[in-house]
């Protein structure tokens, strides 16, 4: 068998380029960045505009001014009045809140956006694999209302993952995940994040995720784009981009260690 190639061997130089200006609430966004790594994290405090950036790429927010390209394909060009409808973009997304379709089982939810013939053996196998990856095996026939918040969150991300890896087209789909591990307990999150990164890497599906959690960014060993007050203040490997935040976190932990108890 041929040795596994990592995602970056096959990826085009620029997976996604974004240049956008947009006002939302009190934040005036003005960002410019390019994705080149398999997993990039948009990092920033609440209200820094992360979610709006993600939603604009997905096609749910019409920006005041923007040029967004996926490889050579133009998704948005406000000057040329181009804005592809969300469902035609080579992008799959899972929002901050798990909007599971209430009348469908967990399995049906996960299979919803699969790009292959849904009755085919391959599609079924893939859905099984994703369910297993997310440790949803025992809940496959449950309805969303019978799940815990954490389980719902996992199904929401699993659904986007299953859709992204089965999307056709020249470059496949870019996966957009807004706080994908929110609400999961730490141990589950740690395992899942690492396994998911590897699994998606094998399938050459790049990810842009949003978080304000320092440890999550380190766990993923991701490229980090740091956002503050609607501006990109830094982009680079997590060790560099979040050095300050890491120190602060360790300091806090150190203080806790020294507490009498």
């Amino acid at each position: 068998m041929e040795g596994r190639r990592t995602l970056s061997d096959k990826l085009p130089a620029k997976l996604l380029t974004v240049r956008m200006k947009h006002r939302v609430g009190t934040v005036s966004l003005d960002v410019e960045f390019a994705l080149t790594k398999p997993w990039t994290v948009l990092f920033g405090p609440s209200g820094s505009g992360k979610t709006t950036v993600l939603r604009t790429i997905a096609g749910f927010v019409r920006p005041e001014e923007a040029v967004i390209m996926r490889g050579a394909e133009v998704l948005v060009d406000s000057k040329a009045r181009i804005s592809l409808p969300a469902y035609t973009r080579p992008v799959r997304s899972a929002g901050q809140t798990a909007r599971l379709f209430p009348q469908m089982t967990v399995r049906e939810n996960v299979a919803y956006g699969v790009g292959w013939d849904s009755k085919s053996e391959a599609a079924r196998g893939l859905v099984d694999e994703v369910l297993k990856l997310f440790r949803l095996g025992v809940t496959t026939e449950s309805l969303p209302r019978d799940l815990s918040g954490g389980e719902q969150q996992k199904v929401s991300v699993a659904r986007a993952v299953a859709s992204a890896v089965t999307t056709g087209g020249s470059d496949g789909a870019l996966l957009l995940l807004d706080e994908p591990f929110a609400g999961l307990d730490m141990r589950v999150r740690d395992e899942l994040a690492v396994e998911l990164k590897e699994w998606l890497g094998e399938r050459k599906t790049p990810v842009l995720s949003v978080t304000h959690d320092v440890s999550e960014a380190f766990l993923l060993g991701a490229e980090v784009i740091k956002l503050r007050d609607g501006r990109v203040v830094q982009q680079g490997p997590v060790g560099e981009a979040l050095r300050e935040e890491r120190h602060r976190l360790i300091e806090h932990l150190g203080v806790v260690d020294q507490l009498p108890g």
């Binding site: 749910f60 997304s93 929002g95 809140t97 379709f101 956006g113 209302r145 986007a160 859709s163």
Partner: protein, 229 residues
Amino acid sequence: MDFEALWLTLRLAVGTTAILLVAALPLAWWIASGRGGAVRALVQAVVALPLVLPPTVLGFYLLIAMGPLTAPGRLLMRVFGHPLAFSFSGLLVGSVLYSLPFAVQPLVAGFSAVDRGYVEAAAGLGARPAKVFLSVVLPMARASVLTSAVLTFTHTVGEFGVVLMLGGNIPGSTRTLSISLYDLVQDGNYAAADRTALVLVGFAVVALLAIYLLPSMRKVDGRQADIVR
């Protein structure tokens, strides 16, 4: 009791409900989507018009439009070989227009209540708008679909003014139950009128029970699903 009129009324109500469900679903979804600006407002007003217009006014205009006095009426006569007025097909057209708000408005309310986050979630999984509507929106608004169908059906059963203006009173062709009741009273036949009225009351009660007795239909509604979570 006039069983011919009962049979005709049922055919008219089923036909009207079937036609209106097919037509009202996309129309209501478009109205609920909030696009279209002034055009949408105009369409909403036209849809709601039968609620406030005297049925005889609607019946009168339809009578003129379908008769030999106007160009569209003459065209229809040539297509069908007979005037649409005073025929069952003409009655069907009149009923569809007259019951339009009863079909559309519950659907608009139901569709508007479906959280747009679900539509977005489906689009974010690459689903085309038609798929989103059929597989996500419609099941979540199914209580409203039931309400719409029941209201259209019962409203058509109870129609009087439009039917009288447009259909005349031809046994087997345009005489519905409500007109038969009117005739019976005119003839002083109160016993038969009583039985006919009772049937009409029965229709209304059963229909309303169908709406209120099915709480399960309401539970899967989008709003409820959110509350359950």
